[in-house]
């Protein structure tokens, strides 16, 4: 047996055809990683097509995982281990992997036909394309067929067990057993005996192969560090799961039903699927006929006293825009979840981008502000969902929650939250004084601090009121075209959203000091990469600041950023937060845009930060344009 290579962390990429079961293999590997006590972060990277033609590069589905002692906050820049199930997977992944990476190939698929489908003129195993890498050629398909031949499966069914064979081999390489995966297979295929036994046999055969095969000496093994987590109970969590649970928690904290209305769209649909299975938490799920109906039904539900939530991706949010305006006008709570993806138009449905920030903050007709929040990691989706619902109900306003395709699908270990640690969400009620205040309709007696009105709902006797999209009198709520009244109502709507800042915590610095040369300011799913990059450069005057509340900003943000010579803003768009910071705070940030559909690499962030650190010493970029806002 080969000696184990000890490592603090390791990045592994699994890649194959859409039908090879790579995503399943990835999630099971994550489960086993959690059981082994390592920290991890994952990045599923799959094609837009459900089953792209086999063997093509555009049909490659991949799953990347970074595991180790931690804190692991990104799926890693360059994989040190690549498992490629076919030539196309190799072709797509090779440019990404680290120098001297270990590449496991399923050689059964390296036929002339597959090579040419992948666009290889010559076999990369012989052409020198793999020089410098440690290549481990394995006949994975043949070995799998051999392992499961006693079960009488068809050749194609038997071949499909190869992901479990590979998983078994991978577990051996990391010095782990296959017990947790066996448990899952047994449960998953409880009623399909043949498939269950075949997959178990493949899994065990893959694991045993490492032990027994003559080639085993050639296969490197790794001992990966365990993480030092804070004490507590943990589970693995994906962003969509955390978001669903967060919404359920918010409903429980407000003691209201939650009605989730949505229309299928990538990459937002996992939230719909998850919530559809949480009915007994007081959640109703309605699949509407279109995006507009989805937001309108959610708003109707809010009008009737439930927490109305709708969810979509950029193009769908665009369709919901008019109804969001209605929610602003009617002063009703509504949560809009935007799982951002590459655009414009249909764009890159399965690739990640942060390019809906303008749409969320500015994207409506007329003066129509709404609070905007963004989640930064899979687990963070839970807290942000609660916070967003809290704001919507307290201020009686629609709220936009930004997440993205990466967050929805990425997974990380998560310390189980305790619901008792969260304050209940209070609903604005009609007070005696409100009902007695002459001239003001009870429905429109707004709290002076939040400008939220009482949440009066049909069924309440004596409080009937009419509301809608027409401008209304600030006191009576009746239709009003009065000029002064419209001015006052517009100002009221603006102040209402501004007042959210009175209730949110001050902006904190994630890493580094509160003043210094360079502040790296991010939002959303770039958290992990920025954290990792800044973390590796501490002591050089660089700090990481990550903004959850994008509209309104925390009150101390301007003052905080004024303590840095330069503000670097990495974003997966062309500089939208930079615009917002300029607009709202009068500062002059340095944008670092990236719109390749792939998350930031730690290395590219380090490079950009280094450049800013150098410039901070010599070229003074005036951070503040408007001193008055500080």
């Amino acid at each position: 047996m080969s000696d184990k290579q000890t490592t603090e962390s390791i990045v592994i990429r699994l890649a194959g055809d859409s039908g090879d079961g790579v995503q399943l293999m990835g999630t099971q590997f994550v489960s086993a990683t959690a059981a082994a006590g390592s920290d991890f972060a994952t990045f599923p990277d799959y094609p837009a097509e459900i089953r792209a033609p086999a063997g093509t590069t555009y049909g490659v589905s991949a799953y990347q995982i970074n595991l180790g002692g931690g804190p692991i906050t990104t799926a890693g820049d360059a994989p040190q281990v690549l498992v490629a199930f076919n030539p196309a997977a190799l072709k797509v992944s090779l440019p990404l992997v680290a120098e001297n990476a270990l590449i496991v190939l399923n050689t059964d698929t390296f036929t002339q036909r597959n090579l040419s489908k992948a666009g290889y003129d010559s076999d990369p195993r012989e052409s020198g394309a793999l020089d410098g890498f440690q290549v481990v050629p394995l006949d994975i398909t043949t070995l799998t067929l051999e392992a499961v031949k006693s079960f009488g499966l068809s050749k194609s069914d038997a071949g499909r067990c190869k992901n479990f064979w590979a998983l078994g081999a991978l577990q051996w390489m990391l010095g782990r057993d296959v017990e947790t995966i066996e448990q899952w297979v047994t449960q998953r295929f409880a009623k399909q005996e043949t498939l269950r036994e075949a997959n178990l046999a493949a899994l065990r055969a893959g694991h045993a192969y490492g032990e027994t095969a003559e080639l085993s000496a050639a296969i490197p093994r790794f001992r990966v560090a365990r993480a030092s987590f804070a004490a507590g109970e943990y589970r693995g969590i994906r962003g969509s799961e955390a978001l669903a649970l967060g919404l359920a928690a918010a409903a429980e904290l407000a003691d209201r039903k939650l009605i989730f209305c949505s229309y299928p769209i990538t990459p937002a649909s996992p939230l719909l699927h998850r919530l559809a299975n949480l009915g007994d938490l007081g959640i109703g799920v309605f699949q509407a006929e279109d995006e507009i109906a989805a937001v309108c039904a959610a708003l109707g539900a809010s009008y009737a006293g439930a927490i109305g939530v709708t969810s979509s991706s950029g193009p769908g949010i665009a369709l919901k825009t008019e109804a969001i305006g209605l929610a602003i006008s009617a002063e009703l709570p509504l949560l809009i979840v935007d799982s951002q993806r590459g655009g414009p138009s249909t764009g890159l449905p399965t690739k990640t981008e942060q390019s809906d920030l303008y749409q969320a903050v500015y994207g409506r007709n007329a003066d129509a502000p709404v609070p905007v929040l963004a989640a930064r990691s899979p687990g963070d989706c839970f807290d942000v969902a609660i916070e967003a619902v809290r704001i919507a109900i307290r201020h009686m306003t629609p709220v936009i929650l930004l997440t993205d395709g990466y967050l929805a699908n990425a997974a990380e270990p998560w310390l189980l939250p305790k619901l008792d640690d969260y304050r209940p969400i209070e609903v604005n009620r009609v007070t005696e004084t409100a009902a007695n205040d002459a001239g003001v309709a009870p429905a429109f007696l707004r709290d002076p601090k939040t400008l939220g009105r009482p949440w009066i709902t049909p069924g309440m006797a004596g409080l009937m009121y009419r509301v809608g999209g027409l401008e209304k009198d600030i006191r009576s709520g009746n239709i009003s075209y009065d000029a002064d009244n419209h001015q006052r109502m517009t100002e009221m709507r603006a102040r209402k959203v501004e007042s959210v800042a009175d209730f949110i915590p001050d902006q904190v610095v994630e890493l580094g000091r509160n003043t210094g040369k360079v502040a790296v300011v991010g939002w959303g799913s770039t958290y992990g990469a920025i954290y990792q990059a800044v973390g590796s450069m501490t002591g050089h005057g660089v700090s990481h600041i990550h903004i959850r509340h994008l509209c309104p900003f925390p009150q101390n943000l301007a003052r905080l950023l004024s303590g840095f010579e330069r503000v670097l803003v990495p974003e997966m768009n062309m500089g939208q937060l930079s615009t917002l910071l300029r607009d709202q705070l009068g500062i002059n940030p340095v944008p670092l845009p990236k719109v390749t559909g792939q998350p930031f690499l730690v290395s590219e962030l380090r490079q950009a930060i280094s450049k800013e650190l150098q410039l901070a010493g010599s070229v003074r970029r005036p951070t503040m344009i408007r001193r008055d806002v500080v």
């Binding site: 959690a34 059981a35 947790t180 987590f229 804070a230 004490a231 507590g232 109970e233 943990y234 589970r235 649970l245 359920a248 928690a249 409903a251 429980e252 039903k257 009605i259 209305c261 949480l278 009915g279 007994d280 938490l281 007081g282 109703g284 309605f286 006929e289 507009i292 109906a293 989805a294 309108c296 039904a297 959610a298 708003l299 109707g300 539900a301 809010s302 009008y303 009737a304 006293g305 439930a306 109305g308 109804a323 305006g325 209605l326 009617a330 189980l416 619901l419 049909p458 069924g459 309440m460 006797a461 004596g462 009937m464 009121y465 009419r466 509301v467 809608g468 999209g469 027409l470 239709i479």
Partner: protein
Amino acid sequence: MNAPAQLTAKDYASSEDVRWCPGCGDYAILKVVTQVLAKVGARREDTVFVSGIGCSSRLPYYLETYGFHTIHGRAPAVATGIKLANPALDVWVITGDGDGLSIGGNHLLHVLRRNVDLNILLFNNEIYGLTKGQFSPTSRIGTRSPASPGGSIDRPVSAGAFALGAGARFIARAIDTDKTGLTEVLEAGYAYQGASFIEIYQNCIVYNDNVFGDFTDKARAVDSQLHVRHGEPLVFGEGGSKGLRLDRRTLSLEVVDARAHADDVFVHDETNPVLAQLLLALQPPEFPVALGVLHRVPGQSYDQAFLAAHPTRLARTRSVTDVLRQTKVWRVG
């Protein structure tokens, strides 16, 4: 529902000033709506009127009930959300030919096929009134309007046929000024559990005056209106002198002498969708316009099905704390 008996039609009128044009058919409809609400004893706090955009959609402001004036075409979707959150409410949707059949056609289609328990009143005046008189999806070919100075070329949609095609299980028709007929269909729609679709021929005095005159005109009504009633023969004309008979060769209705062919006159069966289709297609001057409950088939409403299919009838029976652990959990420290 049991309501205090003392409420009268006036109790259902709000204090907001009514802002329709003098002589608009909407006034007559509003009045009958308040009378019907009083008659059926609707509880005001449990009643919600939801509307889209257009002249008709202003109606909720004028009623002392809950009211939500939403956005163009989307009232059925908003109303669906209201019913999902609280199925106990009586929810009415007020829409028009442009709101319901043009910009909101998709939502009307789906709310009907799902059979959401709503009373949907579509005020059809065959014109866009609030935007100053452009042709609408129900306007006849050749309608001259600011947008069609040479006459419109679009073929009109039949509201009732659209509803039937969408799978509506309750379809009725009435005329704004026909208090008896309108009262009857509103009461029937209110009693129906599911989506009741009621088309009301409504006169726009400013932009499309008298467009329905050929059958609403009192002098001609007896020959141009067919008031259908389940189980009764399809007769009209002076003293029921004319009847409708099925021409088996062409599968269409024909007008016959009701007395000479008494046995051949078709008897109205509101559960028969084929008959509903034939009745909806009748047009003057050859035929009378069919009014009343043209189609009614009982069936489970969507909101009831939604509750029935829900594992806990929307109740919270456990905490998110329990669900957090429904996966592999490991302990550190």
